[in-house]
């Protein structure tokens, strides 16, 4: 399985979303072991609804709208990447 490195290691927000993201993904992926860096789209168990569901998850968790320029699937490939993306998006609220 491919792993993807954190797109944004220097995060803007100190809040760690990894556990929340993992709990959300476990709804779909169940018991299978996967690390924060695993490419969830390559896990083979996620359905074609996953991209939409992840965007909605982020929107709901942060009460923001994910704009079209951010709708890059690479932002949603792994727990680490989603976490980095969320920290980046949450940052203005924490300034």
């Amino acid at each position: 399985m491919n792993t993807v490195t954190n797109a944004n290691p220097i995060s803007n927000s100190s809040v760690d979303y990894r556990q929340d993201i993992r709990s959300f993904l476990e709804h779909f992926i169940g018991e299978e072991d996967f690390s924060d860096d695993d490419d969830i789209f390559e896990l083979g168990l996620v359905s074609s609804l996953m991209a939409m569901q992840l965007v909605l998850f982020v929107e709901k968790a942060l009460s923001i709208r994910v704009e079209s320029e951010d709708l890059n699937l690479d932002n949603f490939r792994s727990i680490a990447r989603i976490d980095a993306f969320m920290r980046d998006k949450a940052a203005p609220a924490h300034d």
């Binding site: 169940g30 609804l49 991209a51 929107e59 079209s68 709708l71 890059n72 699937l73």
Partner: protein, 390 residues
């Protein structure tokens, strides 16, 4: 939104649809097209962009109100419902994946019906396997040249703009808006279809159709996984509720007919085997209604799992609608086999289509299984933890 608002919205849709005579609705189906004045009535009704926010010319209705509107359309005519569905899918794609500028530019005209949209994903060689589509977008000085073929595209023969899915030269999937008056575009209505006959389903040929780069909707590469997926999610909600409306019509007609028609000295409805059919129809309707409302409610609150609830509702409602229409024809006997004598003949044909569109039911089964398995693994784990006290 409150329950009384939902009821008021439903009534508004019912009033519009009551303005079409049942005999006319049957005639459009037989003629395999919709008169232009009906399209104009629909466009001017103010009911084509209800779920779009008021700032973009819509009504700001929630998903329950939108669903109930779809149920009213389905109850009257599945062809009309499919027109509303694909038009809504185009708006939904722009709402979800468009930039602020694109939303400002396109949504008001679509929401007020002055422009009608159609959704062009399927190709002769690629249906369920949508990621294989072969329509190409080649960059040029004016923007992009779009070439390829689309097939089975509802309402394309009347639409003003098509949401076309294709691939860039690097193979990444994209969506784009293609006005139907673009040079190089040919739209040919398809005749002799089993259902949705008044929806003007068409075949499309695009030969070097030039669009500005500003007509690309969503990011490059997200064409299928996000733009189409988001639009299809709303399409499934529309079809699920449309099936619900059609089921309601089938049950209502069957009860009325079985009460009136006498055989063996008594009304059909007194025969227990007819009651069994009615019981199954009513039960299917009630169960589908709960799944549809649940999906709409989840969508209204922005639940990330709403799409899963919608896929489940579409799968259940379409499968059961086919069964209900089958039973409705059975209750009507020969009368149920005649377009001149019953509506259920048309519903029987139309509802079969709902098992194939917006992702066939096999695609729903795959999504529901893949997406739903984890939930049960998790609940089993939680139960185990409770039992072991950990």
């Amino acid at each position: 939104m409150t329950e009384s608002e939902h009821i008021a919205h439903r009534l508004e849709a019912a009033q519009l649809l009551a303005s079409f005579a049942p005999a006319d609705i049957a005639a459009w189906d037989q003629a395999e097209s919709l008169p232009e004045e009906v399209s104009m009535t629909l466009a001017r009704s103010g009911l084509l962009g209800t779920f779009i926010d008021t700032g973009h010319g819509g009504r700001g209705w929630d998903a329950v109100s939108f669903g109930l509107l779809c149920a009213e359309f389905g109850q009257a005519s599945m062809s009309l419902l499919s027109i509303v569905t694909v038009h809504s899918m185009v708006m939904e794609a722009i709402r979800l994946s468009g930039t602020q500028q694109q939303r400002d530019e396109w949504l008001p005209a679509l929401a007020d019906g002055s422009k009608m949209g159609a959704f062009a994903l399927t190709e002769p060689d690629f249906g369920s396997d949508a990621t294989g589509i072969q329509t190409t977008l080649v960059a040029c000085s004016e923007g992009y040249r779009v070439s390829g073929r689309k097939k089975w595209i509802s309402h394309a023969a009347r639409a003003d703009v098509l949401l076309v899915f294709g691939k860039l030269e690097d193979g990444s999937a994209v969506a784009c808006l293609l006005p139907t008056d673009t040079k190089g575009l040919r739209v040919t209505p398809m005749r002799g279809l089993l259902g949705f006959r008044a929806a003007m389903v068409s075949e499309i040929e695009m030969q070097d159709c030039v669009i500005p780069a500003a007509n690309l909707i969503g990011r490059k590469g997200a064409g299928i996984s996000y733009v189409a997926a988001g639009a299809l999610d709303l399409g499934r909600l529309a079809i699920a509720f449309g099936c619900l409306g059609a089921m309601e019509a089938c049950v209502a007609d069957s009860v009325a007919y079985a009460t009136k028609r006498k055989q063996f000295g008594q009304a059909l409805v007194k025969h227990q085997l007819i009651q069994k059919m009615l019981a199954d129809m009513i039960t299917s309707y009630k169960a589908a209604e709960r799944l549809c409302l649940h999906a709409a409610e989840r969508r209204t609150v922005g639940d990330p799992l709403a799409a899963m609830a919608t896929a489940t509702a579409k799968y259940f409602a379409s499968t059961h609608a086919v069964t209900v229409a089958n039973l409705a024809v059975q209750v009507h006997g020969a009368v149920g086999c005649s377009a001149a004598e019953s509506r259920v003949e048309r519903f029987y044909r139309d509802l079969k289509i709902t098992e194939i569109i917006e992702g066939s039911n096999q695609m729903q089964q795959i999504m529901i299984a893949q997406n739903g398995m984890g939930e049960f693994v998790q609940s089993a784990l939680k139960r185990k933890r409770l039992q072991t006290g950990q």
